[in-house]
Assembly symmetry: C2
Homo-oligomer: 300 residues x 2
């Protein structure tokens, strides 16, 4: 029986340990030694916090093909580094202007804007180094496929493009369909990349990759719906960050469009879609199933 609580806690612990090891002077050095202040800001923006859901998805997707957790761990760290860099940049005054993240000062508050920009840039850069590194996977063709997948998920047609659409939408207003596209890019694309990277690590054939992509897209929508519902219903204390911000900033979400009850109903449908995309897989996909169900019930 797959135990979501224990597997996700193990994964989060390993991600914490892995990031702490990678974000040190030795492994960050290049032609020169990485400056202490930069390392400290990178660590501040990525250690001690987060549910580490994206590495968990990499691990669970790889597990569908019988891969042990250790074999997908480094790719999971790379995805998490991209997620953390995006939070650091999104929190900047020029973007969402957030002072608090996971109950602590955001990187630009703890350091300054310039350091936060550079720490984000460095996390993004080193994420690709982790994927290209031989310890990530023995085959170079798999490693380049991972680089491409992460770049496409996090680039102009993915996460970064979604953030751009989100900012544009604050002034221009977005239709229901435009909100869906924006969210599929801003949040969905990296979740999709995480699942597909797990599948690539496991050597998925095109049919399995396509089923897992369908799972990931539905799971991404479910995750975002849950997040938007919590922004309305949860307290800042529960979430470790400001809530009610979407409405205050004029950000349009599907909760504004459908109401909280309508959004909850849509969330349940979306989780069902995610589960049905996994129907051809046996018990090895129980991890992915549990994560989809978790999105419907999470309280923080």
């Amino acid at each position: 029986m797959y135990d979501f609580r224990s597997d996700s806690a193990d994964c989060a612990r390993e991600v914490e340990k892995g990031l702490a090891a990678w974000l040190g002077t030795e492994r960050l050095s290049g032609p020169g030694p990485a400056p202490e202040r930069l390392i400290a800001a990178m660590r501040h923006g990525s250690l001690e916090g987060g549910k580490r859901l994206r590495p968990l998805l990499v691990r669970q997707a790889a597990a569908v093909f019988g891969m042990p957790a250790a074999a997908s761990a480094q790719a999971g760290l790379a995805v998490e580094m991209v997620h953390c860099y995006s939070l650091i940049h999104d929190d900047l005054p020029a973007m969402d202007d957030d002072d608090l993240r996971r109950g602590r000062p955001t990187v630009h508050k703890a350091y300054d804007d310039a350091t936060a920009i550079l720490a984000g840039d460095a996390l993004l850069t080193h994420a690709f180094a982790l994927l290209a590194d031989p310890a990530c996977h023995p085959q170079a063709d798999v490693r380049v496929a991972l680089v491409l997948e992460l770049a496409q998920g996090s680039g102009a047609g993915g996460m970064v493009g979604g953030q751009m659409r989100d900012i544009e939408g604050e002034s221009a207003g977005l239709s229901g369909a435009e909100i869906s596209t924006m969210q599929a890019m801003k949040t969905g694309a990296l979740i999709r990349a995480a699942v597909r990277m797990g599948a690539l690590l496991g050597g998925a054939d095109p049919r399995a990759l396509s089923a897992l992509t369908a799972y990931a897209e539905a799971a991404g929508r479910a995750f975002q719906l849950a997040d938007d519902i919590l922004d309305v219903t949860a307290t800042a204390e529960q979430m470790g960050k400001a809530t009610g911000k979407d409405a205050a900033m004029g950000k349009q979400t599907l909760v504004a469009e459908l109401g909280v009850d309508g959004a909850r109903q849509r969330l349940n449908q979306t989780v069902s879609e995610a589960l049905s995309a996994l129907r051809t897989f046996g018990p090895k996909a129980d991890g992915l199933r549990a994560t989809a169900r978790y999105f419907a019930t999470r309280e923080t």
Copy 2:
């Protein structure tokens, strides 16, 4: 006979064409379509300008091993995209706060800070996609080596770390040795990566790679010395950007340390070092030789 003017002009033209082709809706698309505003800002920050010296170095280093220009072009574009992203972020008000670049408004002036941050992020991300793409080189092991090389050159122990040290130095002050380390990282590391990437594309053996690395490190120092001298001696009109800024911002350079004449002398010595690192190579290294000499004589 190698003709620097014609080869560098050809290279610049091809880089312009290549970037214009890659920075379009089709090639930037991922799970969703890249937003028009983001594409426009990415193009603003990378098209119509620059000497394209880094792609030229990739091409010239690959030529040492008999590689035709077309075979190293895509890797050259990736390096140039990283260079352009770094300029976009460095120009931000939170960093160097520049309004003018290559005679045109900087990206955050033409758009806004948020768009400039995202455009830089996206250029960096897609640079790695270009390297991982099969059209970059037929062998996956070469492509991952390129990804690693570019990440190390542009990461916390390279370019980004150098920018961090430069910012820290504005308030703390730097010794002559610290200025050298900072510059070896901020400017030198990407030049080093460009040369080494050309060598990797050409299948360099460890001995050749080591000689070309020595060349690249000297060439990078020469480039930076020339830049610092021009910041003092050239006009803004010649340079297409503000000059005299280093002193105004309290940035320490070797010109402040050695004086203009002392810096010119050091520049000539450094170019000689670069040339002597190439002594085991025949006429196929004439491109690299010409670029090193160009650093000693450039006027813009």
